[in-house]
Symmetry: C2
Subunit: 423 residues, 2 copies
């Protein structure tokens, strides 16, 4: 048991969560026009406030440099005029999307005359916890304003000055559009404030966790509030005996090399033994030509002897890097079993011209997105046509896979009668 | 921090959760015909095994009597030939419902030719924790078999022999239909086993909690797995200034008196002051004639002086009994604020002939089900037309309000391509 938080921490948690809850109630009634105006005004505010944003960002960058952070870290943290313009355009893009709130999901009439409609409504209060890039502050705030959720923004301490300046611009646009200013609140204060917020399931409806695994595990451990997150994405491409090998090579390169640092890139390639001899020499050469290290099991190394041996740990490691592990298997059943054992339920793909194999793979693989003859890299809100991306969920409940604006909503039932009583 | 569980407990938890996870994988591929056959055979098995069930039940009943349990408790626990027949028919009813698994929720084609389908799939492994009535064992098992979820059944210790006998019948029917026998597993062992299971978010996907508030709060506190549950239902009926008063009286009596012990019965009546004088004398008389105790605020007692004064606590108490508290308010805004302050988000109703009031009430009240001119008692899976009731959820995510078979499913995306790679 942790010691009780100090009255100060309790006060901050109470104030933040009460402000968000009250804002959520008013926000739920906001018109689409007011929400979109807030987003467009916020975009203008980011452009107008460019010099203040750049100056706040310089403080963060200097602190990061002084702390000896890596060049890549400092780059992610750094704002430039171009990046501010991209953020502003991002807000305008979200303003231009259809408003999911109020959408009728289903409606029907009961024999007793009751008219039941299932209608999308905001979830309520969202706590979003994330690391590093400052644009996530603008993005998260905008997605929540659009869906009429009040949001508590907890960014990484490394970008605190920048995030605070961005939040200030957005809050002022929100208030200017006649919406409650506490619809968007930055969470200042350290780990104890976050811990306190994670206990307030009476006030906060959902936590969205973005960032490193440790952060997400800690949140999962401490939260009494449902957490939407994704853990590691260990994705597979399975090249079937009936695969088009040119396509297999193209899909494998795309799924591994195009952007290895993301969750929907593949980590393991599974190849049917019937095509391993024809595929692996050319494929491993192509992978290496793209700078990718190749590891393999004994069967792989019997065909392409110069690949590194894969250890047991390799099959369960999300490299997020240019490393691919290859396994040769004798049957679809073994491929399915291998994927069930090592996949993390995010995205899995098969390359095959065999209809029966395609259908078995689609239906038997348990993952948020299952692909036939397409790259796992399409597991993405924009690529799915959602127009925005809130994140990708490895949860099974509420939201699974790519999340768009709809995944920031829940529903309620509106029931219209003319005096019906239950018998 | 609780001490580490003993190896024995760990072994039971490991065996149960592994069995369920493996069964879930096989079950997800089961045909509708096999699942329905298992349910119909289980119904036949309950009828054929009547004497064994009655004998097991006698043990439970004797233990309950010896422990000095109330007559109502013993009645809920007791099986009779009629109750066994009702259970069997319940299984057959579930077998006759459409199978939600495999249903296409949405499908679309992307400009690059990818065909995306969002398809219903089982959640996976369900742990259901409940108290008292033995028929819940049959019901929960059947709903999970129908939706291809493996289920761990943790009933109350008071009905352990009966529930065990019912589970044995169902397991045998499941195996007879060619499905994995561990699709249905009773959880034997005490609180430590349940505590252990609630930590296994790697193996169990959702907990369904039915039963008393204390049980549910404990589960919420200890579970790392998402819990679907409802807490208390403090439901309101608001009689607007423009209400049809005959309808108001009829709906109030139905919502309070027809079955006061359930969550969708009302606890508070809110009356606009413009109609309080005309409504309250006749309504309080009718309530009393139905055996209902009436409590009221000062304005109510100024009109009907013989009602008990309502205390502050009354507005926040779920009586589950024939007690109603009445509040008189001067405006719709105050009615909405009162309901926001005291409602628990389950079901709220307005009686009005005013279109604008009806629409504001529908859209501004934040509850799973909002009714105009109909009784809150319709907040029910059968009454909504779902054909089965898994429960009623006061969660905001995944399932909100009445839950049918669909609410025991999640979805995945099937993506069919012809070689698409991401640019």
């Amino acid at each position: 048991m942790q010691p009780a938080a100090s009255p100060d921490i309790d006060g901050i948690v109470e104030r933040l969560s009460r402000g968000a809850r009250e804002a959520a109630r008013a926000l739920a009634r906001a018109s689409t026009a007011a929400k979109d105006r807030a987003l467009r005004d916020a975009a203008a505010g980011l452009r107008d406030g460019r010099s203040a944003l750049l100056s706040a960002n310089r403080d963060d960058v200097e602190r990061a440099r002084a702390a000896g952070e890596s060049a890549a870290f400092v780059d992610r943290l750094t704002l430039t005029p171009d990046r501010i313009e991209a953020m502003a355009r991002g807000l305008e893009d979200i303003a231009a999307l259809p408003d999911p709130v109020g959408e009728t999901i289903a409606a029907w009439r009961r024999p007793n005359g009751l008219e039941i409609a299932q209608v999308r409504v905001p979830i309520g209060v969202v706590l979003t916890i994330y690391e590093s890039r400052p644009n996530v502050t603008a993005d998260s705030a905008a997605l929540c304003v659009k869906t009429a959720n009040a949001v508590l923004l907890k960014g990484g301490s490394e970008s605190q000055a920048t995030s605070g300046a961005i939040a200030t611009v957005i809050r002022s646009a929100v208030a200017g559009a006649g919406l409650p200013i506490d619809a968007v609140q930055p969470v200042e204060g350290g780990r104890e404030v976050v811990r306190g917020l994670l206990r307030r399931d009476d006030r906060i409806d959902v936590v969205i966790a973005r960032g490193g695994e440790t952060l997400k595990r800690t949140i999962m451990e401490e939260s009494r509030i449902p957490v939407v997150k994704h853990f590691e994405g260990i994705c597979h491409l399975y090249v079937d005996a009936a695969a088009d090998l040119d396509m297999a090579e193209r899909l494998c390169l795309n799924a591994k090399v195009q952007r290895p640092s993301v969750c929907n890139a593949i980590e393991n390639l599974v190849v049917h033994e019937a095509v391993a001899g024809a595929l692996l020499p050319r494929l491993t050469a192509a992978l290496r030509a793209s700078g990718c290290e190749v590891r393999g099991d004994a069967a792989t190394r019997a065909i392409v002897p110069d690949v590194h041996p894969a250890s047991d740990a390799d099959w369960d490691t999300e490299y997020l890097d240019l490393i691919l592990s290859i396994r040769v298997i004798p049957s679809l059943d073994e491929a399915l079993a291998f994927i069930a054992a090592h996949g993390t339920g995010l995205a899995e793909a098969v390359v095959t011209e065999d209809y029966g194999v395609a259908e078995r793979f689609l239906h038997e693989v348990d993952a948020a997105a299952v692909f036939v003859n397409a790259s796992t890299r399409f597991t993405d809100g924009y690529e799915f046509g959602f127009g925005a991306e809130v994140g990708i969920s490895t949860n099974r409940l509420h939201a699974r896979g790519p999340m768009g604006l709809r995944e920031l909503t829940t529903y309620k039932y509106l029931v219209r009668g003319d005096g019906q009583v239950r018998g």
